[in-house]
Subunit: 519 residues, 2 copies
């Protein structure tokens, strides 16, 4: 009866599961894990060190190094084995802000909210000058500014983004949204490219080409400072990079990503015939002494003779953007994964398979830390040449969607994992984790594993204010962490890791992907 | 039949209206006003000059003077009579920010979002130093810091306010909320003070006394800079004053109202045993050359022999706080009132009664501009000694609740005005203005008129994000103005003013209030 009910339940959820699959759950161990994770948590303390104490953790920055070193030491303190920094390959230059001041001085004084774009240079001390509104959509139109920009502050006639949304900033998944995910057949295929797409693509390419031209023009003309409009409102400023981190990167002009309100005020004034003067003092520092990228790794070694060479991995990226301390992106995921390791150690668990944590770097620039690690250990997705370790990694679990609690798992197309995860989620119904979706989710490090045929999963997490306020913004600070959510996540991850490490078989795999080169 | 229907409608709305009161409405003139106000509006242009061009408009600041002078000139340009600045009495010093820079430098660099409190001094150039966490709730506890604060940066162990509300920032009144207001019998009487209130009051007095002690201690000890926590999250910082504007004001220490996220980061670090260093360069300017406060006034003179000495007034305060350009508080109301005057002039209206606009100053410090004007022209609410002009002012209409459109009128207890306003609102049903409430509303300049027995009204306005984001914050900028709402408000005000100026009788009055001294 129970099995039948379970079966029909899965049918309802759109995922076909064989009726004989009754995955065992160790209720006593789950209880131990819950007790440690929910009632003796250290996750907020960990998050404090990763955020407030370490600072911004841009790839290869001093802040990231502080956090990496703290994590290695903390993992050692907790008794993990093989805790270390592991080089994954060449990344490029580190970079950090060392002074950031900009203010309107005419028609009246007003300090603006603005953030230097990552990997852009500073102003070489305090500069002052009139802001020039540059209107050009082509190289030809740029010509009129030749010889006029040296030392000047430049702004563009960019449209205001500051529309009220009349929506809440922070929200959790509704039951309806979760049901929709559970009932999904698969991630919808994107529409085939058509003529309209081709036209759009051509426009985009043209725009990108012009941006490169513009960037070079601003350098050649020795523009003193460029203001670009940031996404975000109300003092929230989303940041990006303004130049390449490569050691061979071309020079760019100093560039400030400016809050939309301050940006639009300047644009309105100039367009209204009111001259605007600005003063700014931006100092940024490039760090080139070590171009290698590193991941933090540590283990709880397996103890079963036959299985200890097999591995279950958990991870998340530790690097962040530079305008805040990357609390939800992704100190949250890093702290949860560290906490999951701590929980398992605290209850003195001796796993059959080896449990390994990895905290990636340079995720924000293209999942480089995990891709490099995967290339070094497991295989090359371009050729599908695999290494022996590939066959021994049961699964990789990732967390990188903010501070929100776990609501379930993206199966990433691995339908055979559904009955297993269904059983493992069962003890966490009361904590809101119930949903399996066959869908893929992208944008983070489980993809690096998935690309070489290793089961790689990102959990479904409540968004809270990830999209509206924190993701890559100057507001991604410790304040945004929801303590109860992080405790819940660490507890569930620890339980998943426990069960994966003890399971008779490894997590079933999808068909091996085709080599990327052949696709 | 129509009257009967009207009557039952008023019953439903909780306001008893005599069945014979059928107030005339001039439909043709309403149409003219709508055409000018909705289709040929200048309200956004006016708002641009009051906000972006003038800058922050703190009482007696250069920004306010710019806006006042612009308004006087613009009123003249539009052809108003008697446009001028009118002194209302002594206010105190002007003040403005001339440099505002502060950043954490240790454990890593991070420029903070913080605003000097109004009327506080600067730092006398760049200062650097460790931040000291001061824990004291009494003068005795302060003793431990004696001799230790000179030049130091001081912070307090204040609780974090950064709770997610999970509510929308911006909203309009719902039909239910409007119905509740319409059905109200009167503003609920506050509960009588009891023993618990007395205890609370005593606590408050103690706290206030300690604050004064603390403030003096910080000055005596020559603290270099004080950080206090601002209300607001996500980069939104609400500001206040940190000292008196009086020319005789006591000295205070420099004080920065710091965004809650930056403030809490510093507090967490220090409490976590991590020293924090800050650098700051704050320059503020006091302006003492003229301590008088001024209101902007202008008129469209009455043309009816018998009625031209009678007046209808409209107004709103033009002064703002200093962290932004006071767009919703209250450039919005000022721009709408200026626009209402412009509309009436543009349609070449020659009123029977004189129409007068007044844009107040020093409202934020206690409705001083309107109180002073009322004292000079109409009477003294303390003694209820009235001047002849008091008998000749039909009504005063105020706008000061943000950018939101008009949804109706607070009758301020003047139930005899209900049938009149009901009729006058009728042509604006399609624009969402329908509600009369017998309730009082407070906090702004109509109170100064109400206090001497003159019908004074504030319109009901949609809140939008007034309470959550803009009211007294660093985000109260032009971007927050809702163009369609301001057009609607100006159109309705112009129509109200038209009808008030032409009406056979003045607006009926409530019983004269008792002298405040006698209450």
């Amino acid at each position: 009866m129970k099995l039948k009910l379970l079966f029909s339940c899965f049918i309802a959820a759109g995922i076909a599961v064989p009726a004989f699959a009754q995955e065992p759950v160790d209720a006593a161990m789950v209880q131990k894990i819950r007790e440690e994770g929910l009632n003796h948590s250290k996750v907020m303390e960990t998050a404090f060190y990763l955020t407030d104490v370490s600072g911004p953790r841009l790839a290869n920055s001093p802040g990231l190094k502080r956090a990496q070193n703290w994590a290695v030491n903390q993992l050692k303190t907790w008794g993990m084995a093989n805790a270390k920094l592991e080089a994954w390959g060449k990344f490029g230059k580190g970079w950090e802000v060392q002074k950031n001041y900009a203010a309107i001085t005419i028609p009246y004084y007003h300090a603006i909210i603005a953030i230097p774009k990552a990997w852009t240079p500073g102003t070489n001390g305090l500069i002052k000058g009139e802001v020039m509104l540059l209107k050009a959509d082509s190289a030809a139109e740029l010509e009129q500014y030749k010889g006029k920009l040296a030392g000047k502050i430049v702004i563009f006639d960019t449209k205001a983004p500051t529309e009220r949304t009349w929506k809440v900033d922070a929200a959790r998944y509704t039951d309806e949204e979760l049901a929709e995910m559970a009932n999904a057949k698969a991630t919808p295929e994107g529409p085939r490219r058509n003529a309209a797409d081709a036209a759009q693509m051509a426009t985009f390419r043209k725009l990108r080409a012009f941006r490169a031209t513009l960037s070079q023009f601003l350098v050649d003309e020795k523009a003193g400072l460029v203001l670009s409009q940031a996404r975000g409102t109300d003092g929230t400023v989303f940041t990006t990079n303004g130049a390449s981190y490569a050691d061979t990167a071309k020079a760019v002009a100093p560039e400030l990503e400016t809050s939309s309100e301050d940006y639009q005020r300047i644009v309105r004034l100039i367009k209204g015939g009111q001259p605007v003067q600005l003063e700014a003092d931006i100092k940024t520092q490039f760090i080139s002494d070590d171009l290698q990228g590193y991941d933090v790794v540590a283990e709880i070694p397996g103890t079963d003779k036959k299985l200890k060479d097999q591995v279950v991995m958990i991870g998340g990226h530790l690097d962040s953007w530079h305008a805040a301390t990357g609390a939800t992106d992704n100190a949250a995921g890093s702290a949860v994964m560290l906490e999951a390791m701590r929980i398992l150690k605290a209850i003195n668990f001796k796993p059959k398979r080896t449990i390994r944590i990895a905290l990636w770097s340079s995720e924000e620039q293209g999942l480089f830390g995990s891709r490099g690690y995967v290339a070094n250990h497991f295989g090359d997705p371009k050729t599908m040449e695999l290494k022996p370790e590939q066959a021994k990694l049961s699964a990789y679990y990732n967390l990188d969607n903010g501070t929100g609690k776990i609501r379930g798992v993206y199966l990433q197309g691995d339908s055979a994992a559904a009955p297993i995860f269904k059983a493992w989620l069962e003890p966490f119904k009361d904590l809101g984790a119930t949903t399996l979706t066959i869908r893929n989710t992208g944008g983070t490090d489980h993809l690096s594993f998935d690309a070489v045929g290793i089961p790689g999963f990102q959990f479904i997490q409540d968004a809270i204010d990830y999209g509206t306020r924190t993701h890559h913004s100057n507001q991604d600070t410790y304040d945004r962490l929801v303590q109860d959510d992080l405790k819940q996540a660490a507890t569930i991850v620890a339980s998943f890791v426990y069960h994966t490490s003890q399971r008779a078989e490894m997590i079933p795999r999808k068909e091996l992907p085709k080599p990327q080169r052949a696709r």
